[in-house]
């Protein structure tokens, strides 16, 4: 795994986001320290995805602010985002996709970096195959390689294990463990207690857009995920 850039923290200050009359996030205030690995729990529609998209500055909050601590003020922080959708082009090959995103992000020695990442995610043999021929697990591997191209200091995972078979699930858990150990700040939304959840150093539960529980590893940790499995 490529080493992360200096990891950054996240500060949510009274963040609110509404879609019509429905609150996706409601008066959310909390801090994620650099290097923390946070699991977001909550039922469908509790605001997990919106929170991640607000954190990535893909969605502008209606009220409140999101700020990054420890980030270079003159540069936009590199953020890796992995969601259920792979966010890669099906017409292009795995290598073409990664080279494209590497060049967009001004990655140094893009061909070399892409080669390393393809080997790392186990797609070296399929580098010239169009992504449309890939299984769900292989697409997710490509997505993770894409997210890691710019050595992100913040990684956001939105239910990354959905639809993965057991083998791909174990692989994903292993990758997230390596990233966590390299010091990258990780925020991942999850359904139910899982191997991935066990990697988290902190768990936060949302309900109707509001934060209802926030705990570090300990007695309460497992209860955060109660009733969220699908």
């Amino acid at each position: 795994m490529p080493a992360a850039q200096r990891s950054i923290g996240l500060q949510f200050d009274q963040v609110e986001k509404r879609y019509g009359s429905v609150y996706a996030l409601r008066n959310l205030t909390f801090h994620i320290a650099p290097g923390e690995c946070v699991a977001l729990a909550g039922r469908n529609g509790s605001g997990k995805t919106t929170l991640l998209r607000v954190a990535a500055r893909l969605v502008r909050p209606g009220r409140g602010t999101v700020s990054y601590s420890g980030a270079d003020r003159n540069r936009r922080p590199a953020i890796g985002f992995v969601a259920h959708a792979p966010m890669v082009y099906e017409e292009l090959t795995a290598e073409e996709n990664l080279l494209f995103f590497a060049r967009l992000q001004n990655v140094e020695h893009p061909a070399e970096q892409v080669g390393k990442l393809l080997a790392e995610v186990g797609l070296e043999d399929r580098r010239d195959s169009p992504v449309r021929t890939f299984s769900r697990g292989m697409r997710q591997r490509t997505a993770i390689a894409r997210a890691l191209l710019a050595r992100p200091s913040l990684l956001l995972f939105d239910e990354p294990a959905t639809g993965l078979d057991a083998e791909s699930g174990f692989w994903l858990t292993d990758q997230v463990r390596k990233l966590r150990d390299s010091g990258c700040t990780i925020v991942m939304s999850l359904h139910g207690e899982s191997e991935l959840a066990r990697l988290a150093t902190r768990a936060v539960r949302l309900e109707a857009g509001g934060l209802i529980a926030d705990t570090h590893r300990g007695a309460m940790f497992q209860s955060i995920f109660a009733g969220t499995a699908i």
Partner: protein, 224 residues
């Protein structure tokens, strides 16, 4: 500088994916070809009639072909949520628009260039001597269609009834540039052709105004 280098990388991707799938070009070429052939056989115009209403017919066909081409330009990015990845990767979101505009203009021009000889043959119009001026007119007209169309495609991609919304917004906004493009093309296809610089200036101004609007507010068009 980052804006231009990002836009160049994005244009490369647009061209590569289009030439691999040939979705947009083949649809628009077939559409314009059918329009030109049907009108030529229905009206069987004389050369002077062709010079009078041919340019209008041509620009109407280009407009509808463009609306076919513009609709998927952001919808395609939604299939695998690649727009999210693009927004995270680029320094300035305007690079995404710039690349889409460049690619759409390129594809439109390519289609127009392929259709020109067909039009000349079927409508018995000769304009070889005016080719550079026609190319300039086609470029500025196509750029205008692409700038406005790309912005509206981004807006409508996130809306309900998106298939209806794009043409509904596109047609009234493009009326000025279409009228001027048609007028300039008519002058270029006359028996004594000339380039109407005032029209060229108006088209360039139209393109510049909408490009500036997109540069200022484009970021908001991409937000969810």
């Amino acid at each position: 500088m980052a804006l231009l280098s990002n836009a160049a990388v994005l244009v490369g991707k647009e061209v590569r994916t289009e030439f691999r799938s040939r979705e947009l070009l083949s649809t628009t070429i077939v559409f314009v070809l059918v329009v030109v052939v049907v009108f030529s056989f229905t009206f069987d115009p004389t050369s002077s009639e062709s010079r009078r209403f041919g340019p209008g017919l041509l620009w109407m066909a280009f407009l509808f072909a463009a609306s076919l081409m513009l609709q998927p330009c952001f919808l395609r990015e939604q299939t695998a949520d690649t727009l999210t990845a693009l927004r995270l990767a680029v320094e300035d979101p305007f690079a995404i628009f710039l690349a889409k505009i460049a690619a759409n203009t390129l594809f439109l021009l390519l289609m127009e260039l392929l259709m020109l000889p067909v039009f000349a043959a079927l409508f018995n119009v000769s304009f070889a001597a005016q080719l550079p001026a026609i190319l300039l007119t086609f470029f500025l007209g196509s750029l205008g269609i692409s700038v406005v169309g790309t912005a509206l495609a981004a807006i409508s991609a996130q809306a309900r009834m998106r298939e209806l919304l794009l043409p509904l917004l596109l047609l009234p906004l493009l009326t000025p540039v279409l009228v001027v493009s048609t007028e300039v093309t008519i002058r270029l296809m006359q028996a004594e052709p000339y380039l109407e610089w005032r029209g060229i200036g108006l088209m360039a101004a139209f393109d510049a105004v909408f490009l500036t609007v997109l540069w200022l507010f484009g970021e908001y068009f991409l937000e969810e």
